[in-house]
Subunit: 81 residues, 2 copies
């Protein structure tokens, strides 16, 4: 079993309203040292597959299901067994 | 400037409906090798603070704003400058 974490974030060019709101709120609760907050989501996949298949499987699932490529981009990290 | 990524996930005891739905959908698009999918969110904080202050700042922001401790738990990772 292989565990893979897929990170999905907004593209640089896309405004992150939630991150912007949280940044303002963080300042009001007394943390001016926070310059920015960006929000993302991740998916932990546990895969019963061979290591050399991981890239193909993750790419297919990300493309068909997890990522809206108009606004988002993704990376992934193999977390090990 | 220090970049910190805060990961927020459901507690083990809490059912993850979105993850469960995605797991079923992944199977229907032809990936039976996926045993489970869990969903989480993360916050990328860029902090203008000293390294020895990071834990205190992150703990305060996570506790007051980012995490619903009834259902969620969090970890964080310093991503460097």
């Amino acid at each position: 079993m292989v565990n893979v974490r897929v990170f999905v974030t907004y593209k640089q060019s896309v405004f992150d309203p939630q991150g912007d709101t949280i940044t303002k709120t963080v300042h009001t609760i007394g943390h001016p040292e926070v310059e920015s907050v960006k929000v993302g989501k991740f998916f932990d996949l546990s895969l019963d597959t061979m290591p050399d298949q991981i890239d193909t499987v993750v790419k297919d699932i990300a493309t068909k299901l997890l990522v809206n490529f108009n606004m988002e981009t993704y990376t992934y990290q193999v977390l090990g067994d």
